[in-house]
């Protein structure tokens, strides 16, 4: 007996007492789907790449980002960032400026010349991608990463599709498109320009392709019948924006009226302002609330001096005079003519009433169903013709760059599965990491001194390109505002707050493990987990 009996005890001997038997609830680590990821049409793991950005490892962040989206510099400019709308941080202060960080990473990658790694092995399969817009580029990139030989055929003279011909330069400088496209072709994707596919069946047969992904953009403007007389200058938005890519900008005059309520209408109006129009008026038949354009775009257009005329339709154009009929919303929210008229002077009228896709390449393809001007696809993005997949503007969905990039990725995965004979099955989605699962106490507010600067920095993504993006310091700051909703970010809270030392820290990157020998099930770890990554579940007794 080393010590006096029962009076002195050897240290740490209580470890013999397994207090885990007291437990009725057990903590379990979970991963939940962060709302940003959930909202991202491109299926980005936003939280995942922000994690790397938080520690300043931007290349790792960029590489994580481009696992899902090869076009971060583009997306960082043109994405309508539904992620930010979903961000739980908005309930604390302001959503994380995900889009700005994405752009920062994209720009940094271009600046540093970061390249994609070629596929580790070749599958020996050939895939044809039709259309070098965002969907086609995305699909080509993902297919190539999976080891397939990809030929990307583009009808136009340059890659980019609607990104190049539908989005104004002030929002998306062309060298950015060029840089990100180049990085994809550098992986071994064969890009064939000025090479319209007229017959998909023939093209596949000719090229010996095992599968095809169709991603033709909506380049054809929808026309509404507006009786025009005199020397009225009436043009459509697609035509107008495309002409912006030429040497001589179109002449619109002093006063421009844009007809329509979508994002394109806004783009046209803002472009018109930039081209020198003193007045740019958007005429839309419903109210602001009903406008399909993103509200922040509307807001920015208003700030730039674009004016809006709600509940109005253009009945006739006569020279420089438009006849407008006032509308009223009925019980169901549809606009109904009121019979009240007024006139509006305009030097030109741009119609931005939507676009259609040229689907003629499908004429000879068996089994393909077309509905409402788009191709019907299954959940696997495959058309009625086996091995032919479609996405982007061709498939039924919102027509945005981000959605297109998402289609490209999704289609690539199913194509890969199709080619390998192992149909791709998406991993089941985790439950949503909703705001009520967070313990927001642990997220610190930004010091008041830097808030204005950051607010400005967050906003410039949709402003004049000349103002630039985030710099390293505020990008880092912005990244660190991420709450890591629903997924452990190794804050050590559980490890620290356990009164029973029953949380085992596994070291950097390896998260934690509950030591059920000692965990009494008090629930403090779950309650104090900032990001809601611990569930308390009833113990089975």
């Amino acid at each position: 007996m080393k010590h006096p009996y029962a009076i002195a005890l050897d240290v740490g001997t209580s470890r013999r007492n397994l207090t885990g038997s007291w437990r009725t609830l057990r903590p379990e680590y979970v991963d939940r789907l962060p709302p940003c990821n959930n909202a991202c049409p491109a299926g980005e793991d936003i939280q995942g790449w922000l994690f790397h950005a938080e520690s300043g490892d931007y290349e790792a962040a960029w590489r994580a980002l481009t696992l899902n989206n090869p076009l971060p510099a583009i997306m960082g400019r043109v994405c309508y960032h539904p992620c930010e709308n979903a961000c739980n941080r908005a309930s604390i202060d302001v959503a994380v400026g995900i889009n700005s960080v994405e752009r920062f990473l994209g720009d940094l990658a271009i600046e540093k010349g970061w390249a994609f790694a070629p596929p580790p092995s070749e599958s020996g399969k050939k895939v044809l991608v039709v259309g070098a817009g965002p969907a086609g580029l995305s699909a080509a990139y993902h297919l190539r990463r999976l080891g397939h030989q990809v030929t990307l055929r583009e009808a136009g003279p340059l890659a980019g599709g609607m990104m190049r011909f539908g989005i104004p330069k002030y929002r998306l400088p062309r060298q950015i498109i060029d840089a990100e496209v180049k990085r994809i072709t550098a992986m071994g994707v064969e890009l064939v320009l000025d090479s319209k596919v007229d017959d998909i069946e023939q093209a596949m047969k000719d090229g010996g392709f095992d599968a095809a992904f169709l991603a033709v953009g909506a380049h054809i403007a929808k026309r509404a019948y507006v009786p025009a007389a005199g020397a009225a200058k009436v043009l459509d938005a697609v035509q107008f924006l495309r002409s912006m890519e030429g040497e001589a900008p179109p002449l619109l005059g002093r006063k421009v009226v844009v007809y329509g309520g979508g994002n394109t209408a806004i783009d046209v109006a803002r472009t018109a302002r930039r081209l020198g129009a003193e007045e740019a008026i958007i005429v839309y038949r419903r109210t602001r609330e009903k406008m399909p354009a993103h509200d922040f775009e509307v807001e920015e257009a208003l700030e730039e001096g674009v004016s809006m005329k709600w509940l109005s339709t253009i009945k006739t154009v006569d020279g420089g005079t438009l006849q407008i009929e006032k509308m009223a919303l009925d019980d169901k929210g549809f606009p109904q003519p009121t019979g009240e008229f007024e006139t509006l002077e305009a030097d030109s009228l741009v119609l931005a009433l939507g676009q259609d896709v040229d689907l003629s390449l499908l004429d000879n393809a068996p089994g393909i169903v077309i509905q409402d001007g788009v191709v019907k696809v299954g959940p696997d993005m495959m058309t009625g013709r086996a091995g032919v997949f479609a996405g982007g503007d061709m498939a039924p969905s919102e027509r945005t760059v981000t959605v297109a990039v998402g289609h490209g990725k999704k289609a690539a995965r199913y194509i890969d599965g199709y080619l390998r004979g192992e149909p791709y099955a998406a991993a089941p989605k985790h439950g949503l990491a909703s705001a009520d699962r967070l313990n927001s106490w642990y997220y610190e507010d930004a010091p008041a001194t830097v808030r204005p600067m950051l607010n400005a920095a967050r906003r410039i993504n949709s402003f004049e390109e000349v103002q630039g993006g985030l710099d390293e310091t505020n990008a880092l700051y912005e990244a660190r505002r991420c709450l890591s909703c629903g997924n452990c970010f190794e804050c050590d809270n559980c490890y620290g707050v356990c009164p029973d030392n029953a949380v085992i820290k596994l070291g950097a990157g390896n998260r934690f493990r509950i030591d059920y020998d000692y965990c009494k099930g008090c629930g403090l770890c779950a309650a104090e987990c900032p990001c809601g990554a611990i569930d308390m579940v009833p113990e089975t007794i």
């Binding site: 006096p4 009996y5 029962a6 009076i7 002195a8 005890l9």
Partner: protein, 427 residues
């Protein structure tokens, strides 16, 4: 070196020679001079490497000593009376934890009524606390016992109380041989704790012990006390060899040749008793004395041996268990109960609250025990008249104030009458 010193000062000097490392001081009469003396020795540098700590209570005094001892320092404190009771739970605690603290108890009565004078009520009140309790017969022994106490305490990890009669010894100036430092160092090696708070080798001291082990812990305490007898005798033997004079041990006998009557007592009253015995022997009375030095552990066997041939045993208690009588008498009765021939037991309660124990009274009671034995405890020099009046008064009217006050009033009246009478004769 021989010096004429107040007992407290002599003890302070000798305790200083024992190289205490932590001394906790809190004033209570009559032990105050001891810690004052030690404080002075620390300030002058005569005692080096010692923390002298003025604490805020006796409870703290012993608690500080407990901490110091558990952390490996030789710790000392002193107290008396109410002070001992105020630290009572720490007294038990030090013993339970097996911390070899040495404490001087300047024996004093316990109130109410408040009384600062000597008796053994304090030591008796905590006789079951698990400490060794050694009683000094005179100031030489009072000083010497501390040297023995440190060694005893540290060898067995049992705290030790050196009981010294308040005032009678603490305030008496006598010739005392103060040993040399080297002699003390030879006798008393540095403190080597058996359990110590040390970050290099951590342990937990003072666990909560439940019914499953408490009896065993207590038994081990008992066992340790039982095995201490031989060590106590050995330490006394070693002491004599080292210092050339007797001190300590379990008990000391005096004039035991063919003694038919044996007195048993503790502390300074033994000196007076010895004088009485010499005088009675001169008168041809076969009387002897057992001077009990070690009260805890209670040396049952040694007492049996010493008292087995006595016809009458007279036990002098300087304390009273109000519901039983003299505690020492009770202990001795237990010790002797299984002797083939049990002596007649006579219990005397004497010297309570500083009442002088006079030779005259002892002569009277020693003779009376043999020729006119009494039942229960005999209260030496009890003022029977006062008691009779008070009992009478109480019998007449209940709830008429505390007895103590009434007794004081009666005594005051008696004293005034006496002085008036004396002054009358003076003229």
């Amino acid at each position: 070196m021989l010096e004429q010193l107040e007992g407290s000062k002599a003890m302070a000097k000798v305790i200083g020679l024992c190289r205490p490392q932590v001394v906790c001081a809190y004033p209570i009469t009559p032990q105050t001079h001891i810690v004052e003396g030690l404080g002075e020795l620390v300030r002058t540098g005569d005692v080096q490497n010692c923390e002298f700590i003025n604490v805020e209570s006796e409870f703290a005094a012993l608690s500080v000593a407990i901490g110091a001892s558990a952390a490996g320092a030789r710790a000392y404190t002193a107290t008396a009376s109410q002070g001992l009771l105020f630290m009572a739970e720490a007294v038990y605690n030090a013993a339970g934890l097996g911390l070899p603290i040495v404490m001087t108890l300047g024996n004093r009565a316990i109130g109410a009524p408040i009384n600062i004078w000597n008796d053994h009520s304090d030591a008796m009140a905590l006789r079951e606390a698990g400490w060794f309790q050694l009683f000094a017969e005179n100031n030489q022994e009072a000083a010497d016992l501390h040297i023995i106490a440190f060694r005893l305490a540290e060898e067995l990890s049992v705290p030790t109380m050196v009981c010294v009669d308040g005032f009678i010894l603490t305030h008496a100036m006598e010739r005392i041989d103060i040993p040399e430092q080297a002699q003390v160092d030879t006798y008393l090696p540095p403190y080597e704790p058996v359990q110590v708070l040390d970050p290099e080798d951590p342990i937990s001291i003072g666990a909560m012990v439940g019914p499953d082990a408490f009896t065993e812990v207590r038994y081990l305490q008992f066992y340790k006390q039982q095995t201490a007898f031989r060590l106590i005798e050995k330490l006394a033997h070693d002491f004599k060899k080292q210092f050339g004079r007797a001190a300590g041990g379990l008990l000391r006998t005096y004039s035991m040749d063919e003694a038919e009557t044996v007195v048993v007592a503790m502390g300074s009253v033994n000196g007076t008793i010895k004088d009485v015995i010499d005088e009675m022997r001169a008168d041809g009375i076969l009387i002897g004395l057992v001077c009990l030095i070690t009260f805890r552990p209670f040396p049952t066997r040694a007492l049996q041996e010493a008292l087995s041939h006595a016809k009458d045993v007279i036990v002098i208690d300087k304390a009273l268990d109000a519901g039983m009588g003299g505690p020492l008498a009770s202990n001795i009765a237990i010790a002797l109960r299984n002797l083939a021939q049990t002596p007649n037991m006579h219990s005397v309660v004497a010297g309570l609250g500083g009442r002088p124990v006079t030779k005259a009274a002892l002569h009277r009671v020693f003779r009376q025990a043999v020729i006119q034995p009494w039942d229960g405890p005999h209260f030496l020099d009890l003022n029977e008249r006062v008691i009779a009046r008070e009992i009478h008064r109480k019998g007449k009217a209940r709830r008429s104030g505390p007895s103590a006050e009434n007794v004081l009033k009666l005594l005051e009246r008696e004293r005034a009458e006496k002085i008036a009478a004396a002054e009358g004769t003076g003229r």
